[in-house]
């Protein structure tokens, strides 16, 4: 499955045929449980029950997706320790449209731009707006908060927030993305709680 922060579903929309691409299914994250996400280098505590996408061989090991109502409606993606030269999605070198590689020297505006390209090139967003980019500490490191919204091929406006930091040349980031109507706002309290709970190990 194409793993893009919480818009895996959009890739499905583009593919025109869902189902087969959804991957191996979901496991339960229990309320109050502290979980090591992705490759295990980041810990977060879930304030409520969440569904954790089970890993498949097609996944990027530094990225993990969670959802409450399914990826078409909402999702949180954890990027944990993405090293220099890697991408947040699996892609072929021959794809015409590519999500840029992360670089250890990237500043927040460059990471924001990388995310935008992911939504446009991979998610098929036809409009994308940056709503705010401001400094914010993440996991004890100086980082950023990016707010954005995008209109996708299924005519639905979705809204997102990414909070992250580059620590030791690696990217740590949590991205919430959900339908602008209801679902984004509904998942926001849990997202904020998880961002605040995030620790790098």
């Amino acid at each position: 499955m194409k793993r893009v922060p919480a818009f895996a579903a959009l890739a499905l929309l583009l593919a025109g045929c869902a189902g087969q691409e959804l991957g191996p299914g979901y496991a339960l994250v229990r309320q109050g449980r502290t979980v090591a996400v992705a490759n295990g280098s980041m810990l977060v505590t879930a304030p409520h029950e969440w569904n954790r996408s089970q890993r498949s061989i097609l996944d990027i090991r530094w990225v993990e997706d969670w959802t409450l109502n399914g990826p078409y409606l909402d999702g949180i993606s954890f990027v944990a320790g993405l090293p220099d030269g890697k991408t947040i999605v699996r892609q072929s070198k021959r794809d015409d449209r590519q999500v840029p590689r992360f670089r250890a020297t990237m500043t927040a505006p460059e990471i924001a731009s990388l995310l935008e390209t992911a939504y446009r090139a991979r998610g098929g967003s036809v409009e994308y707006r940056t709503l705010a980019l401001a400094p914010r500490a993440f996991a004890g490191a100086p980082g950023f908060q990016l707010d954005f919204e995008h209109l996708d091929g299924d005519e639905l406006w979705r809204k997102g927030r990414a909070v992250g930091a580059v620590v030791g040349g690696r990217l740590y980031m949590v991205v919430l993305d959900g339908a602008r109507s209801h679902y984004f706002a509904a998942a926001m309290p849990d997202f904020e709680a998880m961002v605040e709970s995030a620790r790098i190990r």
Binding site: L22, L68, Y72, S181
Partner: protein, 258 residues
């Protein structure tokens, strides 16, 4: 019109024998509408075609018009029997109290929710947090606002399709070709048949409270599904799809304990 794609999704979740089958999911607290309620049927999506050689369904305007009129009439009679009044909005501009854009926004969210229901309730990608929670999907405050502005208690979304095989077609059925694109669609790959699904949104709470899928192979020997081009067949489909609305589990449990 995204209905067709959802239909193709749902179809793969149901056994395509000749039998008539339905599978409904309801909100835990759901009780079927009764008494004095107002129901809005938003752009019912009906399509009837003939399956020709090669397995492609060719749309038939006359059959579609007949079936649509019959289904709406059957639905109206059924809802009246429960005490409800019903408005069928054929166009986005036909809903009182809201603009076409507001209708479109509700439809778009409804579409994404319906895809999610199809994937996670019907297609084998269950979400563990929703286990034993009934349907458990909502259209949120947008639907509540919509209900307030329009004065409706419920919104019903309905998709129904049926197709009838040409004689020549039968020999090719074994190939099971499923090709489906603008104008020419054969999602069931068989010799014609019915597929319908409907969802009910409670506009007072915003929740999608009930969802049902119906399939039937109308051309397979041994089963006879009503022809929705006729009033009787349409009534039969509406009855099968909407007639046996089950209350939610919590409501049923309460009833039992009473």
């Amino acid at each position: 019109m995204a209905g067709r794609r959802i239909a193709a999704l749902l179809l793969s979740s149901l056994v395509l024998s000749g039998c008539v089958s339905t599978r409904q999911v309801a909100d835990l607290q759901f009780s079927p509408p009764q008494g004095d309620y107002r129901l809005l049927v938003l752009r019912p999506d009906v399509e009837v075609g003939s399956v020709g050689v090669g397995g492609v369904t060719q749309p038939r305007a006359d059959w579609t018009d007949q079936a649509r009129a019959n289904l709406v009439a059957a639905l109206r009679a059924q809802q009246a029997g429960r005490g409800g009044t019903m408005l069928v909005a054929e166009r986005r501009s036909g809903v009182p109290g809201v603009s076409a854009d507001e209708v479109a926004d509700v439809e778009r969210l409804q579409n994404a929710v319906t895809i999610s229901v199809a994937l996670h309730r019907y297609l084998g990608y269950p979400l563990p947090t929703k286990r034993h929670r009934g349907l458990d999907y909502t259209l949120g405050d947008e639907a509540v606002q919509f209900g307030r502005k329009t004065g409706f208690d419920y919104a019903l979304f309905l998709h129904a399709e049926d197709s009838f095989a040409d004689n020549k077609r039968v020999a090719l059925q074994v190939l099971g070709i499923a090709g489906c694109f603008v104008g020419f669609c054969a999602p069931n790959g068989g010799g014609g048949g019915q597929l319908a699904y409907a969802s009910l949104v409670d506009l007072r709470t915003g929740k999608m409270v009930w969802f049902n899928v119906l399939t039937a192979g109308s051309q397979v020997a041994g089963t006879k599904m009503g022809d929705i081009r006729s009033p009787d067949g349409a009534t039969q489909m509406v009855e099968r799809l909407m007639g046996r609305m089950k209350p939610g589990k919590a409501v049923r449990a309460a009833e039992r304990s009473r």
